[in-house]
């Protein structure tokens, strides 16, 4: 090749780059099934995520039916769910199974794998100027471990005793004792095995994302020129790589307790009048291990949405993002704080009150970087030349939800208030708005914005606007009233409130929430239809850069092949946010700096 290459190391890296440029003839299987192309893997994550989202969303419709109409029976339910809903009424055991699976599926399979898996895979190589991930093989394995996890979790829905039903947080002893409930039997084992596969998938993905971002950037793409999406996906991967192994350690100990008779989390337990031999364990220990992942997990879900919203808001306001370095700094601050606040989920576990106050302080500190982000989003919008594309609407919706949900976080972060609000509908409302729906909005924004790059087609705008308005109004109508129910003490996880005098007054409200949730679910089906219909029949993208954006993915052909760029990878000369500069609407990153032009 050349004698200029000096060290063995450089030779290896250079040949590695060359290898990436080399293309093989592809069969259907290697192109669409066991593909190593990051874009195909991204689509695999997205479509698997969509399937899970429909399933997880449908579960919520079923249990909302129980909560909205506790006295009624629905004979058709028995047709769908069989013995789960004998006589047309959901059995309590399966109500708990549905709630548990709704949480598990949406938190892990949709908003972690479906969100990070999709956009980290799709955007990282395209936006930093790389032909593919650092290790396409690990990347492919990451998807197939997720697929395996999906199959195992799905199979747990069909076992006789039903899937796990102790809540998505799988606290022992319900999760540690096979006899504790129906869902504690084989369903719980399948849950743990599935999650172990899922963690392997996340780790393989995360390793790849971090390495790719740090190692494979094109010439000129310094860290401070990276789009904020990449920064957000980078911190997300760091959070995942450092926190998921701790959940794995908790899951391993739980598997030992369940199947090998150890007592890590069990002590002094009597089941059906029989004293169990387990001694010396601590159920609280599990909560520490779980929430050490569980809280960073919240940001694993939220950060990609933040990054995409930042990018989309800037592109569609035709203005530079306000406070780029502050945005990066606040992402970093959130990442650090994410590891230091887990015990705020445990204020009522008998935690030492002094320790509690330390966690209160650390928790409330998160308000600072969060407020910086909100301020910068709003100032980016301020006096912008805003284009209300569907992606933009969802990005603005994300900011709205993040503010509404973030404010109630200040309530819950205070231990004095949390002791009253813990395990009530206030908590449900808070985390659904700030983590669930907000991240979904980020994900929708991303899908609407990058769909033309993914499939070379546009989504239908009319359906998109209906989808947006029904979802944002519906989301507030569902979760806003829950704050009042929670303040009144209405506990979460109850199967039927009709037996409690104090919660009877909420019967009508619960029915209202249930009706709205069904309408919102129907609107999501509209999106799913739009998604699949547009892949085949959507309007064709004819321009290389339909949103007139600066980032590198829009310098590729309309439908890029494996390797992304034909010919050389573009060189980067500027940051990603030169909008409305020097009288020009936008200046893509690969345009060299002009002679008398100032850099940002």
């Amino acid at each position: 090749m050349s004698t200029v290459i000096t060290s063995q190391e450089n030779a290896a890296v250079a040949s590695y780059d060359l290898h990436h440029e080399h293309h093989h003839h592809e069969t259907f299987i290697s192109k669409y099934v066991f593909s190593m192309d990051h874009k195909t893997i991204a689509k695999q994550f997205l479509i698997t995520g969509i399937i899970w989202a429909i399933i997880g969303g449908f579960f919520s419709v079923i249990f909302r039916l129980q909560l909205g109409y506790p006295e009624s029976t629905f004979p058709w339910l028995e047709d769908i769910l069989g013995h789960w809903a004998a006589g047309g009424k959901l059995r309590p055991e399966f109500y708990y199974a549905l709630v548990t699976m709704h949480g598990t599926v949406l938190v892990f399979f949709v908003l972690t794998a479906g969100l990070s898996g999709t956009f980290a895979n799709f955007l990282i190589p395209l936006q930093i100027g790389a032909r593919d991930m650092a290790s396409p093989l690990l990347n492919m394995m990451s998807y197939w471990f997720f697929f395996l996890a999906s199959v195992i979790m799905m199979s747990s829905l069909f076992v006789q005793t039903g899937p796990a039903s102790g809540g998505w947080t799988i606290y022992p002893p319900l999760s540690a004792l096979g006899d504790a409930s129906l869902g504690s039997k084989i369903g719980m084992d399948l849950w743990l095995v599935s999650m172990a596969m899922f963690i392997v998938s996340s780790l393989l993905g995360g390793l790849n994302y971090i390495t790719t971002i740090l190692n494979m950037r094109t010439k000129g793409m310094s860290m401070t020129r990276m789009p904020l999406t990449i920064w957000a996906l980078f911190f997300t991967a760091v959070l995942g790589v450092l926190s998921f192994p701790v959940l794995l350690s908790g899951a391993i100990l739980l598997l030992f307790d369940r199947n090998l008779g150890t007592s890590f989390f069990l002590s002094d337990i009597i089941v059906a009048g029989k004293i169990l031999p387990n001694e010396g364990g601590s159920a609280i220990l599990f909560q520490h291990l779980f929430w050490f992942l569980g809280h960073p997990e919240v940001y694993i879900i939220l950060l990609p949405a933040m990054g995409m919203a930042s990018e989309i808001l800037s592109v569609n306001s035709r203005k530079p993002i306000f406070g780029y370095m502050a945005m990066v700094g606040s992402l970093f601050a959130i990442t650090i704080l994410a590891f230091l606040v887990w015990a705020h989920h445990m204020f009522v576990t008998g935690l030492n009150p002094f320790l509690g106050s330390v966690f209160v302080l650390l928790t409330l500190l998160i308000a600072v970087p969060s407020a910086i982000k909100v301020f910068n989003w709003l100032t980016t919008l301020w006096r912008g030349n805003i284009r209300f594309t569907p992606g933009m609407l969802f990005a603005i919706g994300f900011v709205s939800l993040f503010i509404s949900g973030g404010l109630t976080g200040i309530f819950l972060g205070n231990s004095a208030l949390d002791i009253h609000l813990h395990d009530t509908y206030f908590v449900i409302a808070h985390f659904h708005i700030v983590m669930g729906v907000a991240s979904f909005f980020g994900m929708f924004a991303g899908v609407y914005h990058w769909f033309p790059k993914m499939f070379g087609k546009y989504l239908n705008n009319t359906l998109a606007y209906i989808h947006f308005w029904v979802t944002i109004v519906g989301a507030y109508l569902i979760f806003w009233p829950m704050h009042y129910e929670g303040l009144a003490g209405m506990p979460r996880r109850y199967y039927d409130f009709a037996n409690w005098e104090s919660f009877k007054m909420f019967g009508g409200l619960n029915e209202f929430i249930s009706v709205v949730s069904m309408i919102v679910f129907a609107a999501q089906l509209l999106f799913v239809f739009n998604f699949f219909y547009s892949i085949f029949k959507g309007r064709k993208v004819t321009s290389q850069n339909p949103w007139e954006a600066n980032t590198l993915e829009w310098t590729t052909p309309v439908r890029p092949g494996h390797g992304n760029w034909v010919g050389e990878i573009p060189e980067v000369h500027r940051w990603a946010y030169d909008y409305g500069k020097d009288g020009r609407d936008f200046i893509p990153q690969n345009v060299p700096i002009g002679e008398d032009e100032t850099t940002h």
């Binding site: 090749m1 050349s2 200029v4 290459i5 000096t6 063995q8 190391e9 450089n10 290896a12 890296v13 250079a14 590695y16 780059d17 060359l18 650092a134 290790s135 690990l138 780790l203 995360g206 390793l207 790849n208 971090i210 390495t211 790719t212 740090l214 190692n215 494979m216 010439k219 790589v241 450092l242 926190s243 998921f244 192994p245 701790v246 794995l248 350690s249 908790g250 391993i252 100990l253 030992f256 090998l260 008779g261 150890t262 007592s263 890590f264 002590s267 001694e279 010396g280 364990g281 601590s282 220990l285 520490h288 291990l289 050490f292």
Partner: protein, 189 residues
């Protein structure tokens, strides 16, 4: 083209090596999870301390020997002394297998002393922590088997140093992790 590539790759660590380092960070977090749980649990009631079996000391010595052997294998590979590389790689593998055997022996000694998996939560921790470390060593052994087969197969000619460097890093890591866990279990029991 060539000069561009050199600019592009100068001073950059090979992506696979970097991935391995991040992976090591991840494995460390898992063991940090176990050892923190261990410390938290130790401060609660019903904790019985234990003495480690003698066989674990042999494990430590063998691990050190295997690390030295792999270090020499890597050196030989870089000098293109393939004969020496093959034998040193095989020596690493044999030492690795002996490491696992001494671990099994250690667990047998523990079991005979009544330190069984279920008897006390401290013993359970010991089994899980040491056992999972052994699983990581086993992963390394499988890689070493594959690499040895390739090294001894005359038809395969691979001169890339990257796989050898990757296994070296990983193997030294599990060695150091073992020493750390051993010290941890001796000092905090």
């Amino acid at each position: 083209m060539t000069t561009v590539m050199i600019d592009h790759t100068k001073n950059k660590i090979h992506p696979h090596k970097f991935t391995l380092w991040v992976g090591i960070g991840s494995i460390l977090m898992m063991f940090a999870g176990f050892t923190s749980a261990y410390i938290v649990k130790r401060n609660m009631a019903n904790w019985q301390s234990f003495d480690l079996p003698g066989a674990f000391w042999y494990s430590t010595g063998i691990m050190a020997l295997s690390s030295v052997a792999l270090w020499m294998a890597l050196k030989a590979f870089k000098q293109r002394d393939m004969r020496r590389y093959r034998w040193m790689l095989a020596a690493t593998l044999v030492f690795g297998i002996f490491f696992i055997l001494t671990q099994v022996l250690g667990f047998t000694q523990l079991w005979d002393r009544g330190i069984t998996l279920k008897a006390n939560v401290s013993y359970s921790f010991l089994y899980v922590i040491v056992g999972l470390h052994a699983l990581h060593v086993l992963g390394g052994i499988i890689t070493l088997v594959v690499m040895s087969l390739k090294a001894f197969n005359n038809r395969v000619r691979s001169y890339s140093v990257i796989p050898v460097e990757l296994i070296s890093t990983y193997w030294h890591f599990v060695g150091i992790l073992w020493v750390y866990l051993l010290l941890f279990l001796i000092m905090i029991k």
